[in-house]
Amino acid sequence: MPPSSEFAEIHDELRSVGRDLLARSAQQHDVDWKLLASSGWLGLEVPEELDGAGATFAEVAVIIEEMGRAATGGAYLGTVVLGVGTLLAVAPAPDRDELLRAVANGATTVAVALPTGDDLASGDLPFRIENLGDGLRLVGRADFVPDAAQAERLLVVAAGLEGRPVVVEVPPGSAGLTIEDQPVLDATRRVASVVADEVVVGPAAWWSFAGDAEAAVRGLVDRASVAIALDSLGIAEAMVELTVEYAKVREQFARPIGSFQAVKHQCADMLVSTTVARQLVGQAIAALVEGPGGDAEASVAASRAKSYATEAAMDVVGKALQLHGGIGYTWESGIHVFFKRAALDRSLFGSPTAHRRRLAARYA
């Protein structure tokens, strides 16, 4: 591990640039993808020989958190968090490398059909490859797949012929493949259902995971969970700041409402839970970066971070709405944007309860 202070400097710089840039496109559905590419944020983890920066998830984490803070729209979750994560987990191959390069350059967008719900323990995948005698077919269904309806390239994590997970690329126009936008309350994110009804798969037309495939899939879900926790951390930070600034200037009974203990103490609680969330998320990032994908410690840290940070963010946004009073309940205030995003974060890739169930399985 390089010394942490050296990284801290890089991260501070990345954060500062990121915040500035994202503030200009805040809460828009589609952040300027070319800008993301030219900033180097799409290929942070992509090896340098494939036009990336050769960095780690710790650097991607800085951008994810800032995107949560700005409630940024766009396909970063599908393309970088899930897409690059999946491509880096499979064994190197020329077509894989070309896709990574295209992502890093901003030339394409990717979605990955992974389990997005509460089943964290079974390892069951929503898709499988079947041999129907006249050839191989992909069958299965996943819901709430981030960015699937907009992405140019679709990767499906499926159980292979012997049950071992593999990654299949399915062109969006393939016969038997149906991708349908699923409108959700959070207007900053796009999710879709992906249905594969006997989609033809060429012989050996898939990528195998490097190493233990089950662990690799677990590692991807952990990565997704930590990314969502980071997003929620960013939301919580933004809401603490917004609320504190408002409480300093909004006056009632001839004094700033922030001078009332009933308001001040809730702001303090918002800061405390956000601070604790930051610690847990930090530990989860470190575990993902240091350990092999899907190792037990990284899964434990991911579950702690996902369950705590998403619940904390929901609580913080709720307090932000309350402390803003009537104005907070208006569409115009924009707090509803964070509320809906935090609520989706809480449910996506395993609810807090599901993650705690996974933690508690170790007590028996």
């Binding site: 010394p3 610690q279 847990l280 705690r356």
Partner: protein
Amino acid sequence: MTSSSSAPAVDLDAFRTSVRDWCAAHVPADWRAAQTGVSDDEFVRFQQDWFQQLRAAGWAVPHWPKEWGGGMAPAEQVVLYQELAAADAPRLVLAFVSLHHAASTLLEAGTDEQRQRHLPAILDGEIWVQGFSEPDAGSDLASLKATARREGDVFIANGQKVWASGAMHADWCLLLARSDPSAPKRKGISYLLMDMRSPGLDVRPIKQATGESHFCEIFLNDVEIPAANLVGPENSGWQVAQATLSAERGMTMLELAERLGNAGFKWLVELCRQPGPDGTRPIDDGLVQDALAGFETEITGLRSLCTDLVDRHEAGTAGAADASIVKLYYSELLQRMMDFGALQAGLAGHAVLQKPISSGWESGAWVLDFLGSWEWTIPGGSSEIQRTIIGERGLGLPREPVAS
């Protein structure tokens, strides 16, 4: 590779092993049972003995400067407290004020003579008590009324102190008293070292909600304190107290967090594994599992918060409200965990009438521990005071208007 953190001065793994081995050889296996229901004298003897064992190992005052017998690097102190907690070693409760508040006061603001007189004595077992709170000065400590009237070479102290933990065992007292009644309330207080054998002192234990009597009232009736025992300038006692309280680098909270994460959580899980009268185990209930996993998560967050605060104290980047965040979060997490323990212990928990002394705040006597957790949410700045500090110093929110 420019960071100093990449080149630790000591081999932490080797140090961890040495502490672990030492604990295996020295921590009395049955001390909890042996220290349940003992007399005050036995408690004092046990604490003094354990303190001297730690002292012999070189670990009694790791946070003191090297010339006074300490000088351990913070990273090593963290390991020491982690391992003492993991081994469920007794805590140094009797010497707590001596080792932390008294020592930091003497080191930060005391004279050379005062340090020479007291720091070696503390290592030999001198016990200190804090004489700060009064019946009418709790959260609003600066409104204290006890007086210390200067008469030549002595101060004459009068008044009443309260919530003085361990005063019946104390040799010396850190006393805050008003030396200039005409000055504004934060400008007329002096900080004095008071010999507890002085004539005119009366110590009366207070029976607490738990039935124990650690806290005392101290009545001062024309107690003479030599002017040489003044700490810092006369009438600057409030500022001295503020400076010395903030000298705490987060290590005491780290120790408590480690205790909560080790014995505290393990026992809670163990408790939930015990079958109840109907043969079912709480741990098989999804709600119980959910709560335990939530506590595990929060304890992990707390421990991380504590090591982070120690690191930032070292780096000089600790924020004005950071200690308050840790204290508030620890206190309320402790309370929620002990509440849950009391609930899971069920009726049988109510038949546990005594808890071991010398333990952490989670002793396994769940109902008493639950009640005892208010000893964290009230003293040392109540949770309400901490939230106000976090709001004002941490977030910059406006102060409450002063009542006219």
